[in-house]
Amino acid sequence: MAGPVNILRGINLTIGGGEVVSIVGPSGSGKSSMMMVIGGLERATSGTVSVYGQELTGLSEDALALFRRDQVGIVFQNFHLVPTMSALENVAIPLELAGRADAFDKAREGLEAVGLGHRLTHYPGQLSGGEQQRCALARAFAAEPMLVLADEPTGNLDGSTGHQIIDLMFDLSRRRGATLMLITHDRELAARCDRIVRLEDGMIVDAGEPAEQAAE
């Protein structure tokens, strides 16, 4: 049997509220793992992770789920919309999970904001790739999370659709004041972010400059 493998080693990173950060690095360097630890999707075996003052390290599986529900929005490369639910229902899920009575009104607003007001009752299978990702964006931002994580959000889209999605995502996170972390292989996209964090072999080789410092 193979022994445990340390995927992330000696990571020390602080990201400010409202920052837009890109994570870059070769395949297997630990980008996804780091994002999962920050999003409370996986637990670090040692060290501490704190998001908006909330310590994640000791939280149970269910407490992490509640943390994600209230604080985190996630955008995937493969969209991961629930195929049996309409666009409106997909966007409403996080709001419904939070017990919001106005879940569907909010979801409708969210879809309208990403230009899908005319596609509310369509199922994922009836939407184009770009539309699915816009729907996924609306879902990620629906519960107004303070942290949005995006894993190669344009990886499955053509160039121009990808640009639109990125513009939309930057716009949404700026307007809501949310922190946005995105993994990408696209240098041009990485360069548009406030800050670039580069990983290699599980370690941060370049943490970039925090936005305020860069501005200064």
């Binding site: 994600r68 529900r69 985190v72 493969n78 991961h80 899920i93």
Partner: protein, 845 residues
């Protein structure tokens, strides 16, 4: 509204949306549930129908509020007066007799029933043409009338209006019996079709000779205000020594009742096996379904859904689908009895009240719900632990290991509840408990064997042949359905093996073994003064052996002076005191008897009565040599000292008596003889004709005909058993098909990759053939072993069959069926897999 109900509400809402995906992937789940529930509902609805008929029509089935039966002797005037003081009385005589054609060429055994003019007290005789019964049986121009079962007319190629001979007279068959209300009350063992005549006819025929085996039945119709118990108490008080067996309408046909209860239990257990096999399929289907939803589950978790909510979402979906399957099963289970009801009524001596029996349906639904829960909580509970992080890695791996403790406990509780329901609702809880224990052992055995196979194949040196290597690694890879495949196919096969062995053994007992040693004929009701002329006639017709034994009927009254009911030590043996038993007398022991204890009396013994008793009777009453047994014969109590205890070899068809007395007390009592005659088959007809002509009062029972009757009953029961067993095998095949289909995606991928690497279709097919061949072979081997043990246990322990025959042919056939099914289903899947084009799969994987 509480937070919990809000969460259940949300779970229900999300579940409903998920169900929009349709029933895809759930056909096997529904199939298994429908089959199992429908089988149990059908069996129990039919059984309830029979029980309800027995309960509601008890008076008609019994023929009165109270029925009394005497053997050999008619009730005397005082007894008759007592009965008449209580209510209306009908006297009915039953005997076995020969019906002969007018030319004397052909004769057959009939169950003769002679009725008086008040018969029937309850219910209606249904005749074709629809004559009133007294008109059909009365004397017209000096000829008595009769009504007969259709079989008698067919057998002798006669039609209504033709004549037959019984005893010394001719009778005119005026109608066919469509329905006889009190037929079931006659008892379970019927050797021939019914012929009904009037009391006048049976007397004129000369069939009521002293000592003839004649049953005198007295049916009472009581006034409304006289309860049957009170009437019975009065009768017993007035005539304590009468020796009649008394039944009231609430227990009109106890033998039929018991038979139906046992058969229903047996068929329910077979149905439960189908449901158990189906349960494996349900578990597989739920797991396969959950596996297709891993991405959705992980997505919901990423969006903040807790594990509990995930469990609820999928639990609700499974409950809804199970509800659908159970409802369909119940509908089928309610409709099938209507379709087969007439058939069942024809097979039974009563008409079955077909209807909807809520308790039968409720029981089937209960089994369905508990089976669903027992098999689906586990895979759903594992789904709740699917990590949200799987989405980031495109690593859609099913979770392994055990679910959380509460879910394990819930599974245990529902399994125990399932077992409790099976045992608690059974007519024989001990039998059901053995079944449950057996089922648990079998399921565990299959699991262990599957684990062992995987472990053994894993440590074996890797084959150099690519096909074998691929096959063995398919069996042993993580998440391989090996265990489920072996279990689902194996359970169904085990039932099939056990049933084919039991059936094979039973029919072998009847067909092969017995006739070699059996006589050709039994002749009953031979008068003592007919003994010598009868013997001479039989030898003249070519008989090779004629053996005659005195035959009387007696009831055990007391043991060592203690009344029989109190003296009985084993309640299982209560049949001994419920009716009358055969009694004989002899000077010397038969060579078929093995004396276990004591000695036979001297040939010229003439002292106080001595008795030789069969081992089971001695055990039932705790009797030994020197103790006393009191028997009522022809209304007279005979207290006899036990001279010896003996064993009887029942496997030979011969006249065996459990109680044989020393000659003195019986030799002068009115009685008849039973004769066994051996004769070459081609001379049987001649013998039957000659005896019929010369001794019209003697009844011939052709052993071959009697065996046919027994065989027919076995065949009918066998058909019911096979039908339910087939349901089990269909469920097993469904489950197997489902399990193979669940691995289909992986198989397609494997096939495509192999093809890309240059494997021919032949290579791929051979690899899968080895894999499924191995699985089928293993399942067949274990099923053969377990099924054989089960059959052996049922035959020797439950049915008390002494000689157990191993039937390699049935087993081989069953094993081949297993291999065939596995290979066919596996190959079908592989064939589909091979037809898939490589490019689309490779592009996206």
């Amino acid at each position: 509204m509480s937070a919990t109900s809000v969460r259940w509400g949300l779970a229900a809402r999300l579940a409903r949306r998920e169900l929009r995906g349709g029933l895809r992937g759930f056909w096997i789940f529904l199939g298994c549930l429908v089959l199992g529930v429908a089988a149990i509902a059908t069996v129990n609805s039919l059984a309830s129908g029979v029980q309800s008929s027995l309960r509601d029509d008890g008076r008609a089935i019994l023929g009165g509020d109270v029925s009394l039966r005497l053997v050999f002797i008619q009730a005397d005037e005082a007894q008759r007066a007592t009965l008449e003081s209580l209510g209306d009385v009908s006297e009915i005589v039953e005997a076995r007799a020969m019906a002969r054609t007018i030319d004397g060429e052909d004769s057959s055994l009939v169950e003769l029933k002679a009725v008086d003019d008040v018969y029937p007290l309850y219910g209606e005789m249904d005749l074709a043409p629809p004559l009133p019964i007294d008109e059909a049986l009365g004397q017209i121009d000096g000829v008595w009338g009769a009504v007969a079962d259709e079989t008698i007319l067919t057998r002798h190629d006669l039609s209504v209006g033709d004549r037959l001979r019984i005893g010394e007279i001719e009778i005119d068959v005026r109608a066919v019996i469509e329905e006889e209300p009190d037929r079931a009350a006659a008892g379970a063992f019927v050797l021939g079709p019914r012929l009904m005549v009037s009391r006048g006819a049976i007397e004129a025929a000369g069939l009521l000779q002293p000592g003839s085996l004649v049953y005198w039945n007295y049916r009472l119709r009581l006034p409304q205000d006289l309860p049957a118990e009170d009437a019975i108490a009065a009768i017993r008080a007035a005539h304590p020594e009468a020796g009649w067996s008394i039944t009231d309408f609430s227990d009109a046909a106890p033998q039929l009742q018991t038979m139906i209860d046992r058969l229903a239990l047996f068929l329910t257990l077979v149905g439960l096996t189908a449901l158990l096999v189906g349960g494996v399929g349900i578990g597989n289907a739920v797991k396969a379904f959950v596996d297709t939803r891993i991405a959705t589950i992980a997505t919901l978790k990423c969006l903040g859904a807790e594990g509990r909510l995930i469990f609820r979402i999928y639990f609700i979906q499974i409950l809804i689908l199970a509800g659908l399957g159970i409802i369909i099963g119940l509908i089928v289970g309610a409709v099938v009895p209507v379709l087969v009801g007439d058939l069942v009524s024809e097979l039974l001596p009563i008409s079955v009240s077909i209807g909807i029996y809520p308790s039968a349906l409720l029981l089937a639904a209960g089994f369905g719900v508990l089976t669903t829960l027992a098999f689906s909580i586990w895979p759903i509970a594992k789904a709740r632990d699917i990590p949200a992080a799987s989405l980031f890695r495109n690593l859609i791996v099913p979770t392994t290991g055990w679910p959380r403790l509460p879910y394990v406990l819930a599974t245990v509780v529902t399994t125990v509840a399932l077992a409790a329901l099976a045992i608690g609702t059974a007519d024989r809880p001990d039998f059901a408990a053995w079944f449950v224990a057996g089922a648990v052992v079998v399921v565990l055995a299959f699991r262990l064997v599957a684990i062992a196979i995987v472990a053994i194949v894993r440590v074996l040196p890797r084959s150099r042949r690519m096909g074998v290597r691929l096959a063995t690694s398919n069996l042993t890879r993580a998440g391989a359905p090996t265990a489920n495949l072996v279990l689902s196919l194996g359970l169904g096969l085990t039932v099939l093996v056990a049933i084919s062995l039991i059936e094979g053994n039973m029919s072998r007992q009847v067909q092969d073994q017995i006739p070699d040693q059996a006589p050709s004929f039994f002749f009953v009701d031979i008068q003592p003064d007919q003994r010598e002329p009868f013997e001479a006639a039989a030898y003249e017709q070519g008989a090779s052996q004629v053996v005659e034994v005195p035959s009387l009927r007696g009831r055990i009254v007391a043991a060592n002076g203690v009344p029989a009911a109190e003296a009985l030590q084993d309640p299982e043996e209560s049949w001994l005191i419920e009716g009358d038993r055969g009694v004989s007398y002899a000077t010397e022991p038969s060579d078929r008897y093995t004396i276990i204890d004591g000695e036979w009396w001297a040939p010229d013994y003439a002292g106080p009565p001595l008795i030789s008793v069969y081992r089971d009777i001695a055990n039932a009453f705790g009797l030994g040599v020197g103790d006393t047994l009191t028997i009522n014969v022809l209304g007279r109590d005979i207290e006899a000292e036990v001279a010896n205890v003996r064993d009887i070899d029942w496997s030979t068809i011969n006249v065996n008596f459990t109680m044989v007395l020393s000659p003195e007390p019986l030799v002068n009592a009115p009685h008849t003889l039973i004769a066994t005659v051996r004769i070459p088959p081609d001379q049987e007809t001649g013998l039957q004709r000659a005896i019929g002509e010369a001794f019209p009062n003697v009844t011939a029972v052709r052993v071959a005909d009697a065996l046919d009757t027994v065989n027919e009953v076995l065949l009918q029961i066998g058909t019911a058993v096979r039908a339910v067993a087939a349901v089990t095998l269909i469920a097993g095949t469904l489950v197997l098909g489902g399990a193979i289909a669940a691995g289909h995606r992986r198989r397609v991928y494997d096939a495509v990759v192999l093809k890309v690497l240059g494997a021919t279709r032949g290579n791929v097919i051979r690899a899968f053939l080895v894999e499924y061949g191995l699985l089928g072979l293993v399942a067949a081997l274990i099923a053969t072993a377990v099924g054989t043990i089960a059959a052996w246990a049922v035959l020797t322990e439950v049915m008390n069959v002494d000689e157990w025959i191993f039937l390699p042919l049935s087993l081989t056939a069953t094993a081949l069926i297993a291999l065939g099914i596995t290979l066919a289903l596996g190959l079908a899947g592989t064939w589909l897999a091979l037809r898939r084009k490589a490019a689309p799969l490779l592009r996206n994987e």
